[in-house]
Amino acid sequence: MYHKEKSIQIKNSASALYNNLCVLRIAPRRLTYFTVVHANVVNMVSASWDGLNYSHRQLQSKEPNVATSTSLIMQAAFCVLTSRDLLVVTSQKGIQMYESDGSIMVYWHALETPETPTEQAVFARGISGVWENYICVGVSSGAMLVFDIPSKGSNITLSEVLHEHSESITDMASECSGSQECIANLVTADDVGNLCVWKSGEEFQLLNKIPGFDMSCSSVKLWKGTVVAGYGTGQIRLYEAVTGILHAEVNAHARWIYSLDIAPFSGLLLSAAEDSLVRVWHLTMTPETNSVEIAHLHNECVTDTQICGAKFCDGDGYAFAVTGYDLSEIIRYVQS
């Protein structure tokens, strides 16, 4: 179904972090951006569609307080909003927001870090752009920061802090089908597998809380009102967001899942785990019977590699890219 294409070399190897690959397609300029985190650096590659031009850029984590220790980056993600795209980088010290090409930092939000380290680690992790112009970021305490993003410029403000999760946020995702009909437009996940479903607005509204089973949910997606969640046990579960009804349960991987992605136009699902496998699935919705089905389509094994990031490169799922711990390349696969 897919075959391997030429890999993109990156300046540093990928660190073992959840969802450690982000892709942004810039159609007007026939470019795709890729971001991969290595310790305290974000490696950004801009690849032209003709495969001839690659340019690299590195973004450092910000350390406002020089006397304290290195600030490791937990995640980097593109947030696609109605009026603009931003690149958000979360670390142990705070949240940095850049223009999507990484050229200018437009905002910095420092986390409250204690003077001497505490048992509970402090960091920001879990990033999502939400309709219409919000960016949500999770914190290790379980708090969620909601930022109001103006259509241009750097006048970004913290709009709300939400406290529904009591454990560290792992990932979050906004409704990616493009449909305005869905009531829920954000799902957030935490380290004990609890999922919160939200409706965005001046004040975010909690629509539903789906309890976890004491197992970390490391990656989550929301598509056509269905939550797709990947867990440390290697299971994938599909829930109806607003009601919490379990549609499907898959014993998908033999190790901890690190990344999920959905191609919104085709309903293809990508899952990747520490077990070296990337799997492609297909989701089908039957609104009449309110059922959701998942079928397995394809496996790719990245030999001797614990995968930490996997993303489709386009909305149809024609191509996808993969990163792995200690690998200094972005591996690409294209439909045959």
Binding site: S13, L17, G232
Partner: protein, 380 residues
Amino acid sequence: MSSRTLPLLFINLGGEMLYILDQRLRAQNIPADKAKKVMNDIITTMFNKKFLEELFKPQELYSKKALRTVFDRLAHASIMRLNQASMDKLYDLMTMAFKYQVLLCPRPKDILLVSFNHMDAIKDFVKDTPSILSQVDETYQQLVEMYTPLPSGEFQLIRQTLLIFFQDMHIRVSIFLKDKVQSSNGRFVLPTCGPVPHGTQVPGLIRIFSCNGEELTRLQFNNGGNYTAALREGSFEIFGDRVTKLGTNMYSVSRPVETHMSGTSKNSTQHTKVNTAPNPLAKEELNLLARLMGGLEVQKPGNADSGFRVNLFATDEEEEEALISRPDELSYGVINIQATKDQQTNAELAKIMGEFSESGDQSPSASSKGDDLLAMMDGL
């Protein structure tokens, strides 16, 4: 990231170091009483109460450089001496072994079982010496108290923190190559077969449910591997069967401990520059290091008669050759704080290096002391 990583890193690396030294002491036919003294001295130092107190405090991981310095000190806690090349090789083996164990752990919580395997072996080394045994037992208690209540997500954070520490290390270890657990490019073999972790199901089943919770369909898919059901869970108590073999002693007198230096990384520029970049935080780290090592009580080296040298290589010539040919990017840049002409700084440094056995307050956190240490480093 996780502020609970250092104790596990230290205990596991220490455990590997003891396995290797034990093998070398026997391979070199060091007299049993001297060998025992070395092992006892090192273990006593490792489990020194004050040192462990510092270690178990919530803190970020040290840099590779700083941790190497701690292990240098530990390896020289007795009458045994190691040349630079042997110490480098010892550290390579220790780190690659633990990296292997961390990567191969089926689930993050299993790192605790690996730690217990090391602890069990250490306990066995000192089973005839009650005083050291009680120190080891106390550490077991601390480990159980601190780590067993942690949720799986927290263990994964610890694991991710360790993997950042081991990032880009691909030194080829002879025993791993022979056992086919490491391939010739230095990467560890990750099999897509064998038992799944405890708590995970064998991949392959899709279950579809109706709105009222009844199972509608069951489908099987090809999982691309050859997995079997999980084994029983190992014990997280002070005594018990750990089930996993990771962290047990893989060396014996007949299995040599060689490493290959050449071709360790295809692009030497890929080697992370995180530690070698000019670091304004070096001062802070030196202070932490001084506090930590201040607790490392050390026996006086003793007279020249009882001291001896251990070689991690087959011959002295090999050891010399290894020192000359070690690639730059693999040098550890050990912080080698040596005595200087300045009497006062000499005394302070000597104290920090633990050559005085008093356990008085080290209080090295004043910034001027950090400056002195930094100046010493720059001068070397």
